[in-house]
C-alpha cells in the first residue's frame, strides 16, 4: 500500500476516527487504526466495538486533489502514536507506505518514521447494515436534537437504559428524549417527508455515542442518513460512517410522566434567569447540593435565593414578563435549571409549575420549536 495525502485532510479524519478508539479495549487489534487505500481514496477506521467510525478521504473533491500516487492496500497502525506523528509532520503532504511485513514508512519533507504495523486481515469486519428503516435529516438539525437532549442522560449505571437517548419516530414526528430521572429533556421535530412505514419506538442510543457524533459532525445543511437495525444505528454522511450499538432494554414510557396541566405559569427572559440562577448557585454549589429556591413575589417579580448556613446567603430578584396562577415556593438544582436554559437557548422561556413537589416544565417562549425541559424539584424540609 502506498499513497501521498494532504496532511490537513488526514489530520481531520484521524481525529474523527480516534473518537472511537480506546486504549482500554479488550480486543488488542482495536487499539489500532485501520488505513485502507483504494483508487477512490483513503478510508480510516476506528472502533471500540460499541462505536465504529469510518472516515473517507476522496482522491479529489471540487477539483482539489487530496490523495495521489495510490497503490491500493491496507494496514493497521498503532493509534497511540499515529495522530501525534501526523500533527507534527513538517510538510503539507505526507507519504505513507507499507510493505509485506507490515512495516510502515511515513515521510514528510525531511522527516521519516518507520513504524511497526499489523496485519489488516486481523481487523474485524464492520457490519454492513442492510435496512429499509432509514431516513434523512439535515446535519444541523441532528446536532440540535443531540445538544438539547443528551446532557440529561444518566451518568450512573444503576439503570443502564437511562444512559441513552430514546429516539422515537411516530406520527410524522421524530422525538429525542433523555432523562436521568431527576430531569428530562425532549425535542420533537416534524418529519412530514418521511414514508409512513418507517417507525421506531424503543431505540435507545448511548449518550456517549451521540456526544462523540456531535463532536465529529460539522455544522452544515447537508443531509445525514440514519439507519436502524435491531441493535445498531448508523449515521452516514458523504464521507463519514458512524455506527453505534443500541442499548438493550425497554425505555420507560415518559410521555405520561409529563404534567399536562399547570398551576403557576411564568414567562421570563431566559438570560436574566440564567444569570440569576448562576449567581445563587455560587454559594449553593458546595454545601447545599447546588439547591436554589424560587419564589413568586407579585405579578412581575420572582425571587431566586440560596442559603448555606456555613457560607452565607444570596437573594436575587428577577423581573418577569408575566406570572399567572397560584403563588409558589420551590427548590431545585441550579445545575439542572442552567442546563435546561442553555439547551433551550431562546430569548424568552415559559416555565410551567404544578406545585412544589411536582416536576415543572421549561419551554421556549414561542411555541414553534418543540423543546421541553422538565425538572424534578428538590424537597426541602
Amino acid at each position: 500500500m502506498k499513497f501521498v495525502i494532504q496532511r490537513n485532510q488526514l489530520m481531520e479524519s484521524v481525529q474523527d476516527v480516534m473518537k472511537a478508539i480506546s486504549s482500554k479495549t479488550t480486543i488488542p487489534i482495536l487499539s489500532g487504526m485501520k488505513l485502507e487505500a483504494t483508487t477512490d481514496g483513503v478510508k480510516l477506521t476506528g472502533s471500540d466495538s460499541d462505536i465504529s467510525i469510518e472516515s473517507f478521504i476522496p482522491t479529489e473533491e471540487n477539483g482539489i486533489v487530496f490523495v495521489e500516487n495510490i497503490e491500493p492496500g491496507s494496514i493497521i497502525l498503532q493509534a497511540k502514536y499515529f495522530p501525534e506523528i501526523v500533527r507534527k509532520l513538517p510538510e503539507q503532504t505526507v507519504e505513507i507506505e507499507s510493505d509485506e511485513q507490515f512495516n510502515v514508512t511515513i515521510r514528510s519533507g525531511s522527516a521519516e518514521f518507520n513504524l511497526n504495523g499489523q496485519d489488516p486481515q486481523e481487523y474485524p469486519q464492520l457490519p454492513k447494515l442492510h435496512t429499509e428503516n432509514s431516513f434523512e435529516l439535515p446535519i444541523d438539525l441532528l446536532k440540535d436534537l443531540i445538544r438539547q437532549t443528551v446532557f440529561a442522560v444518566s451518568t450512573s449505571e444503576t439503570r443502564p437504559i437511562l444512559t441513552g437517548v430514546n429516539m422515537v419516530l411516530r406520527d410524522e414526528k421524530l422525538h429525542f428524549v433523555a432523562t436521568d430521572s431527576h430531569r428530562l429533556a425532549s425535542r420533537t421535530i416534524p418529519m412530514s417527508d418521511i414514508t409512513s412505514e418507517v417507525t421506531f419506538k424503543n431505540i435507545v442510543i448511548p449518550g456517549k455515542s451521540l456526544n462523540e457524533l456531535n463532536k465529529i459532525l460539522e455544522d452544515s445543511q447537508d443531509k445525514i442518513e440514519i439507519s436502524v437495525t435491531e441493535n445498531q444505528i448508523l449515521f452516514r454522511t458523504k464521507h463519514l460512517y458512524f455506527l453505534s450499538r443500541l442499548l438493550d432494554g425497554n425505555y420507560p414510557e415518559t410521555s405520561r410522566l409529563i404534567p399536562e396541566q399547570s398551576k403557576t405559569n411564568v414567562v421570563i427572559d431566559a438570560k436574566e434567569l440564567l444569570h440569576s440562577i448562576d449567581r445563587a448557585s455560587l454559594l449553593a454549589k458546595e454545601s447545599r447540593n447546588n439547591v436554589v429556591k424560587l419564589m413568586t413575589k407579585d405579578g412581575h417579580t420572582i425571587e431566586i435565593s440560596s442559603n448555606s448556613p456555613e457560607v452565607g446567603k444570596v437573594l436575587d430578584e428577577v423581573k418577569v414578563d408575566s406570572i399567572e396562577g397560584e403563588e409558589l415556593k420551590i427548590s431545585f438544582s441550579a445545575k439542572y435549571m442552567m442546563d435546561a436554559l442553555k439547551a433551550i437557548n431562546t430569548e424568552k422561556v415559559k416555565i410551567l409549575f404544578t406545585g412544589a413537589m411536582r416536576p415543572f416544565i421549561i419551554k421556549p417562549g414561542s411555541e414553534e420549536e418543540e423543546i421541553l425541559q422538565l425538572i424534578l424539584p428538590v424537597r426541602t424540609y
Partner: protein, 419 residues
C-alpha cells in the same frame, strides 16, 4: 478594666434555677408560694415519684425520686402537681434570653441551668454586680429564684452555684479551694456519681481534697481517663470552654417508659411503642430534624436490656413511620419474655433546614400526594400553634411522664435568639 476582673484567666458563671419546676408553678399560681409543693408523675401508678419539690417541701424531708406515698407521709400538707412541660420550656427560654442579653457566650446545659463566660463584660460592672443584676432580673421579670456560681472555670462555677441556695451568689476563687472545696464529701463533687464515689471511698478518698492529693497513677488505674479529669477538677483545673453551640451537638432523640406492670400483652406493647414514637416525632418536629436510623430498647423483667436499630434508606419524621419501624424491630427481636421498659430513639439526625431530597421522576408521586396535607398542616400550625395536630391515640396516657434527656427546650431558646 475593673480590678475585680482577673488580668488573665476567665470569669465563668453557672446559673442554676432553684427547684425550677416548682418555682415555675408557684410563679403561675402565687397561692402556692411558701407552701410545700411537689411535681410528680401519675400518683396512681407505682412509678409516681417526686420529680422536684419546693424548698418548703424539702425542709420536711421530701426528696427528688422519692415515691409519692412516702413524700406525703413526711409532709402531710404536700400539694402535688403533674408536670406542665410547656410552661417550663417557656420559662427556660425566657431565662436564657435574659442571660443572652449579657453575653453571647451562653451555654445551656439543661432546662434550668447554663454557663456564661463574662470575661469580656467588664464594662457592665464587677462579676458580682453582674451576677446580682442577672439574679434580680430573673426574679423581677419571671418571678423565679436562681443561684449563681462565679469562678475561673465551669467546674468551679458549677460547684459554687450549689453552695448557696436559693438565691445565692457564690464566688469560688482558686486560692479558696483548700477551705471551700476540699472539705466537701467526694459524692458532692460534680461528675462523681454513686458508683464512682463508692470506688473512691474504697481507696480512702472521702473528700474532694483527698481526690486532689491522691496518687494520679492509682486514680487512672481505677477510673481510667476520667480519674485524671476528676483530679484535675478537684485541683481547680477545667479547660472546657463555654460553648454556645454545644446545644446543637445532639445526635439522637429518644424516649423510654416503664410499663405500669411487666407485660407480654402485644396490644399494650404496641400501644406503648406508638405513644413513644409519637413523643419522639413530636420532639423531632420541635427541633426540625429528620432521622435515618431508628432504635428500640427492650428491658425485660429481669433488667436485661437490649437495643436494636435499623439503618434506613430514607429520612423519617412522622410518628406513624417511626412507629412502623420501631414495632417491626421490636417484634423481630423480642424473645417473648415479660417487658418492663421500652424505648424508641431516632438516631443519625439531620436538620431539616440543611437537608434536601432530589425528587425522582418515577417516584415523586409518593411525596407529591401528601403535598396538600403538608401545606395545610404547616399553614394551620403557623396559625394555631404546633399542637393542633395529634394522631388518634389508642393509648391515652396523658398524665404519664416518659423519661428523656430533654434538651429540646434549649432549641426554643436558640431559635428565639436568632430572631
Amino acid at each position: 478594666m475593673s480590678k475585680r476582673f482577673p488580668t488573665n484567666g476567665r470569669v465563668i458563671f453557672h446559673v442554676d434555677m432553684n427547684s425550677f419546676y416548682a418555682s415555675v408553678e408557684a410563679a403561675y399560681n402565687p397561692d402556692l408560694k411558701g407552701k410545700p409543693l411537689a411535681i410528680a408523675g401519675n400518683p396512681e401508678q407505682r412509678k409516681g415519684i417526686i420529680i422536684t419539690s419546693s424548698y418548703e417541701a424539702r425542709a420536711k424531708g421530701v426528696k427528688t425520686t422519692m415515691p409519692l406515698w412516702q413524700a406525703k407521709e413526711l409532709c402531710p400538707g404536700l400539694r402535688v402537681l403533674t408536670p406542665n412541660f410547656d410552661r417550663y420550656r417557656e420559662a427556660s427560654s425566657q431565662m436564657f434570653q435574659i442571660l443572652a442579653e449579657i453575653t453571647p457566650f451562653v451555654q445551656p446545659v439543661s432546662i434550668d441551668e447554663g454557663y456564661m463566660d463574662i470575661t469580656e463584660c467588664a464594662e457592665l460592672g464587677t462579676p458580682v454586680e453582674i451576677a446580682e443584676m442577672i439574679q434580680q432580673k430573673i426574679k423581677n421579670e419571671l418571678d423565679l429564684p436562681c443561684s449563681i456560681g462565679i469562678a475561673p472555670n465551669k467546674f468551679l462555677a458549677k460547684m459554687a452555684s450549689d453552695m448557696k441556695k436559693p438565691m445565692g451568689i457564690t464566688v469560688l476563687r482558686k486560692r479558696e479551694l483548700p477551705t471551700k472545696l476540699w472539705p466537701m464529701p467526694i459524692n458532692e463533687m460534680y461528675g462523681v456519681g454513686e458508683k464512682t464515689a463508692d470506688k473512691l471511698r474504697k481507696i480512702d478518698i472521702n473528700t474532694i481534697g483527698d481526690l486532689a492529693k491522691a496518687d494520679s497513677y492509682h486514680l487512672k488505674h481505677l477510673l481510667g481517663i476520667n480519674g485524671e479529669r476528676l483530679q484535675n477538677r478537684a485541683n481547680g483545673y477545667d479547660p472546657r470552654p463555654v460553648d454556645p453551640e454545644a446545644v446543637s451537638d445532639f445526635k439522637s432523640i429518644g424516649n423510654s417508659q416503664t410499663l405500669p406492670y411487666d407485660t407480654t400483652d402485644e396490644r399494650e406493647i404496641e400501644a406503648l411503642l406508638h405513644s413513644l414514637s409519637e413523643k419522639v416525632a413530636e420532639r423531632m418536629k420541635r427541633k426540625s430534624v429528620v432521622s435515618e436510623n431508628i432504635q428500640v430498647m427492650i428491658r425485660y423483667h429481669d433488667r436485661k436490656t437490649i437495643t436494636r436499630s435499623n439503618q434506613l434508606h430514607d429520612y423519617v419524621e412522622l410518628s406513624e413511620d417511626i412507629f412502623h419501624i420501631a414495632s417491626t424491630l421490636f417484634f423481630a427481636n423480642w424473645n417473648g419474655k415479660p417487658i418492663r421498659l421500652l424505648g424508641v430513639t431516632a438516631q443519625h439526625l439531620t436538620e431539616k433546614e440543611e437537608m434536601t431530597k432530589q425528587l425522582d421522576l418515577f417516584t415523586y408521586e409518593n411525596e407529591a400526594k401528601n403535598e396538600k396535607l403538608y401545606d395545610v398542616v404547616s399553614q394551620l400550625s403557623d396559625k394555631y400553634g404546633k399542637n393542633i395536630f395529634k394522631k388518634n391515640k389508642s393509648y391515652e396516657n396523658k398524665s404519664s411522664v416518659s423519661t428523656s434527656f430533654q434538651k429540646d427546650f434549649l432549641d426554643d431558646y436558640k431559635t428565639k435568639k436568632k430572631k
